[in-house]
Amino acid sequence: MIEKEIEILRNRQLEMAGRLLAGFSHELKNHLAIIKESNGLIADLLSMGRVEDPALRTRFEKITDTINKRTLMAAEMAKHLNGFAHRSDTPLSPFQLHDVLNEELAFLSRFANLKSISLSLSFTNALPVVYTDPSLVQFIFASLFFHILPTLKSGGKIIVSSGLQNSSVSFGIVSEGKTSSDTVPGFDAVEHDQALQAALRVIGASLSIQPADGRNIIIICTIPLSLKSDAASTI
């Protein structure tokens, strides 16, 4: 009974965090829109020659360019935050795998950058729409990412790929430059990560982990295109 109550409480906490984040990111975009337009107005006035000193005008133009670029970057982050916060609104929904991965990579790239690990994408051009729980797909992807990251040395690489089989899509994480060559990095941790294993079971996904050579590891997560109805009832 207590476990059930804790589960309900956790779900409500997550739901509330999602709602707060969604509202927050929406407001953030409003502020960014005002900054962008105000900066654009300054740029308009500069381009109309309202500042006569050419050196000063050039300096101001550089500043408005920087503000514009950074505002767009912040807006893109706010957009991803908003999308991420809304992912758990409807547990089962149609989505593009690339969208949910890109949304999450916007946040995960920071963790890779802090360790000087390069992060690149190698996505298949077109994938069909997947009908499953997008927040669980994001949970699986982030869990794998955080298992892999500590196994890499500074200067290492993570390549995220995607693929299509008959009735499933997949994402792959290739890591290059692991710290030790005698074990498969992260494998035990992945096997013993109960939450990750539960998420895989709920959406009927499977993992394959293999060392590609002495220094590289490939993890492939295969996700059915559509969640079977008996599994769906557990979400």
């Binding site: 969604a22 990111s25 005002i34 337009e37 308009d44 999308g83």
Partner: protein, 129 residues
């Protein structure tokens, strides 16, 4: 030939007024409203050609304002602005008669392009009537 008239509806006063000024610098006549009811009153009074309409406002939602504008004059074109991460809200607006939608923060060049297309559609429809 009449000069194109734009109405910008957004509860963020600074956003709306700055956009009015930027359009004015490009020779486009624009006014702003910061509440849904105010926008509906301005539409009744001045029949703008194109309305740039924020989806989320405190008194009336953007979709309510859209429906009232279309009830006043269905040929007035409405471009919705959305701060949502997904395009779902914008698509809802288009299903209810909006010309198109753009995500905030807005790219002015994209907005000017949409305004021009919407105005062409509006004037084409007026000529047919």
């Amino acid at each position: 030939m009449n000069k194109m008239q734009i109405l910008i509806v957004d509860d963020e006063v600074e956003f709306a007024s700055t956009l009015v000024e930027r359009l004015a610098l490009r020779g486009i006549e624009a006014r702003s409203a910061n509440r849904g009811e105010e926008a509906v009153a301005l539409v009744k009074a001045s029949a703008p050609d194109v309305v740039i309409l924020d989806l989320k406002m405190p008194d009336l939602s953007g979709l309510e304002v859209l429906s009232r504008i279309k009830a006043i004059d269905s040929s007035i074109e409405v471009i919705m602005l959305t701060g949502h991460g997904s395009s779902a809200a914008g698509i809802d607006g288009m299903e209810q008669g909006a010309f198109d939608y753009l995500m905030k923060p807005v790219d002015l060049t994209a907005l000017l392009g949409k305004i021009e297309q919407a105005y062409k559609k509006r004037t084409g429809e007026r000529e047919r009537q």
